[in-house]
Each structure stands twice: as C-alpha cells, then as structure tokens.
Amino acid sequence: MVDFIVNWIAFTPVFAVPLMLASIGLIINERAGVLNLGAEGIMLMGAFAGVVVYIESGGVLALGTLGAIAAGFAVSALFAFMVVTMRLNQVVAGIAIVFFASGLTGLIGNPWTERAVEGFTKVDMGPLSAVPVLGKILFSQDLMVYASVPLVYFVWRFLHRSIPGMKLRAVGENPQAADAAGVGIDLMRFGAVVVGGALVGLAGGYLALAASKIWVEDMTHGRGWIAVALVIFARWRPGRAVLGALLFGGIEALIPRIQAVGLPVPQYLLLMMPYLVTLAVLTYVGLVSRTGSGAPGALGLAYVREDRR
C-alpha cells in the first residue's frame, strides 16, 4: 500500500506539468483579454513538433523542446493574427485552430507515428535520490519538473508584481482605460498570446517527450480543454493553477497505477475519470462562485477604439 501511494505521488508531476504549463500559458493569454480555445490544437502541434525535431535531430532533447516551443509560438501567432490583428470571433477562431492542428498533424504525421522516443529522463541525484520515499518523490523527477517551479514563480512575479504585468492585466480588464493610459493594446495582446501559446506548445512537447514518449495522432486527448477548464478553476491565478494541475495530474497518474496493480476496474471507465472530474470541478466552481468567477473584464472581446458596445 505504501509502495502504491509513493509510486502514485512520484508519477504525479509527469502528468501535472503539461497541464500546469498549458494553464499558466492560458492565464497569460486570458489575463490580456484573449480567450484561447485553440489550446488543444496548440498543444497537439507542440507535441508533434517536439517528437519530430527530437527524432530528426538524432535525439537531442533540448532541440525537441525548442521545437515544441517554436511550434506553439507559430500556431499562436496565426491565432493572434486572427483574433488580435483581424479582431475575429475568438470562440470560432479557437475551435478552428484545434481542428486545423488535428488535421495538419494527422495528414503529415505518419512517418513519425508510434516511434518510441527516450525523451526526458529522470535526474539521478545520487544519495538524495536513494533516500526512501522522499528520494523517489522529490529527487528523481526530470529537469522540466524542476524547471517549472521557478517558471511559475516568474510568471506570477511578472503578472502581479511588475509594471508590464500590470499593464497586461489592465488590457484584459478594461482595454478602453488601458488604451487611454497609453498602453498599446494590440501589441500587448499579440505578445501575451504568442508567449502564452509558446508555453502551451511546450506543454504539448513535454507531454509527448516525457509522459507518453511517443507521437500518436490526436494524442493530447482533451488535455488542452482540461487546461482551459483549469484556468476557470484557478480563477485566473497562477498559484491556484498549480494546485489544480497537481490535482488533475494526480488523477491521471492514478490510472496506470490502478492498472499496474491489476485492480478489476474496467479500463475505459477508468479513462473517463479526468473528463468527469473536470466536469465536477466546473460544477463546483459554478456552485461556489456566486460573487463572480474572477474572469478578466474584457475576456473574449475584440478591442476596437471608440467602438460602441
């Protein structure tokens, strides 16, 4: 039983980090007022690019990771062009991006499908990793798990303790006021979308190179949508997004653990858990947030100067 729990906790970060990176990226998007429903597609492109670059470069992990970031950056630049520059409907554009990414990776992905990759490996910290219980949980994760801690802290510092971050939030909260105060709305939103999108791409790349260690068509399986839901659960705060990601990572990590010990739970019903729990969490948020969801004031609205609302 202790083994089961230790293993479960030790496997949680691998599943939590993709959700965490994606929801942190989405928080940067949405704090600037852009609702990015394309997350699932951006993650998919990140996962695909990560594996392709990793394989083609002969297994250079840094390049694979950079490829994922670049893919996230590129797809979100397309999305940003649509919703920020051209001011198109953010919901429709986001959904279109998801299917665009799914179709594109499905069409060109065949040569790289189902080729196992080594990807991220556990860091060996010598005696520390050998410490019973704690060694396995805290000192045997991969580099990205450790890197994500300062990353989240940095994003939080930026959003809530810096002048540019304050301007970004102002753009998402009240673009008219921010515009009047001299903040460049388009530039700020474009920047927020591509930087956040790069993180979402990284999330996908990590998913492929660390969690599944393989590229399969449509392999994100709704994790981008779960990240969109996590942002709502987190009330658009990075700290709470980490908690939510750990919760969902824990649920996802539980599935292979239960299968490994051979508990007689039907596997397909088990696989429903992340989706059903997401729905339950959204319901819970709906029940408790009578006073407002904490969403940025101008979330999902295109900004046109002097436009009548």
Binding site: V92, S102, G103, G106, L107, I226, M272, T283, V285, R305
Partner: protein
C-alpha cells in the same frame, strides 16, 4: 484619417463600416471560400497529388456519376442533421461542441433496442427512432442544465462529454455488447426489420427523407413560429429579451434539447441505415462537420441543406482521394478547418474598410 471608429495597424488604417451592400458581403465570403479551396489544393499538391486529375477523376465522378451521386446523397442525410443541430444551438448562443457525443448517444439509443430486443418486431424501427432522439437529448441535458443553473461554460462541458461518450462505446464494444463473430469491434448486426428501408438507388435509404423533413420542420420552427422569434431575440440580445418578458432560460433549454435530438437522430440514421451496428467509427468527424456547416450557413436551416450537400460531396471526393493516394482520414478535417479559417477571416473585410496609408 477619421478620428472615430478607426484603428491603425502599422501602415494600414481600418475603418469600421456602418453597413455593407449585400453583393459586396456575398463577394467577400465567396472570395474567402475560393482562397480556402486554393490553399487546400496547394496542400494536396504538396502531398504529392496530381491536381489536374483531381478535378476529372474525383469531382466529376462524385457529382456527375450515378454511383458517386448516390454516395453523396447517402452522406448528405446525417450531415443535414448535424448541421441543423449546430445551427439551432448557435442561434441561442449555446456553443454545442458536443455534437459528436450526442450523435454517439443517438446511435447507442438505437442499438439498445436491438441488444435488449425491446418491443414487438414491427415497432422496433420506430422505437429506435425514439431511442436515437432520447439518447441525443439525454447527452446534451447535462451541459444544458449546468450552463443554465450554474453558468458552467458549455463549450468545455459538451466537449469533455465527447470523450466520455467515445470511451463508453469502447467499454461496451470490448465488453457486454461485443459481437464475438465480428472481425473488428462492433455489436451484432441489426436484423432486417431493424434497418431503414432502402429506396433502390445505391445505398440511399429513407433516412434522407427524415433529414429533409427535419430541415423543413426546423425552418418552420425558427422562421415561422413564436418560439423561433424568441430564439432570435435571445440570440441577439439576451438582456433585452429578459427585460421584455421572454422566457429566456426556457427558450435556450428548448433550443438546446432540439439540437441534441437532431444530433441523436443523425446517430440513428447512421446506425440503422448505414452501419447496421454500433461501431467505434459511427460518429467520427460529424461533430466538426456540423459546426462547419452551421457556420458557413450562418445558422440558416435552408442554407444548411445546401451547404451540407456540398460538404457531403467533399466527404465522398475526399474519401476516394484518400483511398486512391493512401492519405490519412485527417485530410477532410484539415480542408474543412482551412475553409473555416478563411471564411472567419472574411468577417474582417466585412466589418472594416481597409485603407493603405502612404
């Protein structure tokens, strides 16, 4: 430069149009579709397809050949229903992205009649019809209530339920409902009296008339009934609708349930008219197609009928291109996505007048 309602992006100046002539609007949308098709053709060329053949071999064989046209008409029926389903929900600003899940549950509701042999044999095809509608409605009821009572975002909830529905089908097909005689995972075949009768041209069955009747009915409801007028008001301005005493929540609920019923009916058509079984692939691609059709038709039921016919042509031509050149299924989805992105983009030129500054 006019000071009001103008934006400058670099050297480009955007002016918000006060109104747009119908011909210009149509021209812009048409141009965007042409651009989308152009990009798609370019993609086919990159994938190593001889495009000069595509027109002759596939477009002509799809629309101007008896067997090809029969395939298009067969595919048309479920596409009308998913297009209507999306259009009805979008009209009341309910983003039903879970059409695929409701479609699956329509097929499950149909199959249940076969599995448990419900009712007398002559009535089963009608019970399956009801089962399809109930399945689709049941699957959308949860997101509908969550949205109306608790404000839970329906985009996320309907989408997540797609995965749950697909996993449920897998659970049944790899378990209780599996046909031990089948080579791949599906239920046992429906008996003859559980199948929609064919009309004697290709595989076309009476489901096509069901779909067309549904389109006529939805047109009557949305364009000629009080409920349809409520839907329009709720969709365009829910606050004003509420203030003027319209039962907003009830209107949304009714429209959304209608949307679920239409998707479920699509599942019934495919299960009872084409596959004669519940399979893993019963709903694949229909969800996004419904959204695309509704979007391109601007949620107009009459336009849905036309656009879904063209979409059926894309399906059939796409399928033969796939088989012929050994390309993956994702091809059709990608072409749809590219066309949608281009048509969404056309909205920009509809709303703004673009001027270059020197």
């Amino acid at each position: 430069m006019r000071a009001s309602t103008a934006i400058s992006v670099g050297r480009v100046n955007l002016e918000v149009r006060q109104g747009i002539a119908l011909w210009l609007h149509g021209l812009i949308v048409l141009a965007s579709i042409v651009v989308g098709l152009g990009i798609s053709v370019l993609l086919l060329v990159i994938s190593g397809i001889d495009v000069s053949n595509v027109f002759e071999e596939f477009i002509v064989l799809t629309f101007f050949d008896s067997a090809g046209l029969a395939d298009v008409l067969l595919e048309w029926a479920p596409l009308i229903l998913v297009g209507l389903s999306a259009a009805v929900a979008f009209r009341v600003q309910f983003w039903n992205i879970g059409i695929e899940g409701q479609f699956v549950w329509g097929a499950i509701g149909t199959t249940v009649v076969m599995i448990y042999d419900i009712g007398p044999a002559w009535a089963q095809i009608y019970l399956m019809f009801l089962g399809g509608i109930i399945g689709g409605m049941a699957w959308i009821a949860v997101p509908a209530v969550l949205r109306l009572r608790l404000g839970v975002n329906e985009i996320i909830s309907t989408l997540l339920l797609n995965y749950v529905a697909a996993l449920f089908v897998l659970n049944q097909l790899f378990g209780a409902w599996q046909d031990p005689a089948a080579v791949y995972y599906k239920t046992a075949q429906f008996a003859d009296h559980q199948r929609l009768p064919q009309i004697g041209w290709g595989q076309i069955h009476v489901g096509l008339f069901i779909a067309l009747a549904a389109a006529a009915l939805v047109w009557l409801v949305t364009e000629r009934s009080r409920f349809g007028a409520y839907m329009k008001l709720v969709g365009s301005n829910p606050r004003m609708a509420l203030a003027s005493g319209i039962p907003v929540a009830l209107t949304v609920l009714a429209a959304v349930m209608l949307s679920g019923a239409l998707s479920g009916l699509g599942g019934y058509l495919v299960a009872s008219g084409q596959e004669y079984a519940l399979t893993i692939y019963v709903a694949i691609g229909y969800g996004f197609s419904g959204i695309v059709i509704a979007f391109l038709s601007r949620n107009n039921p009459a336009a849905v009928v036309v656009v879904s016919f063209l979409m059926a042509g894309l399906y059939v031509a796409g399928e033969s291109i796939q088989v012929f050149y050994g390309l993956p299924e994702a091809l059709i989805g990608l072409i749809q996505a590219i066309i949608v992105i281009c048509v969404v983009g056309s909205d920009f030129f509809v709303r703004y007048r673009v001027r270059w500054m020197r």
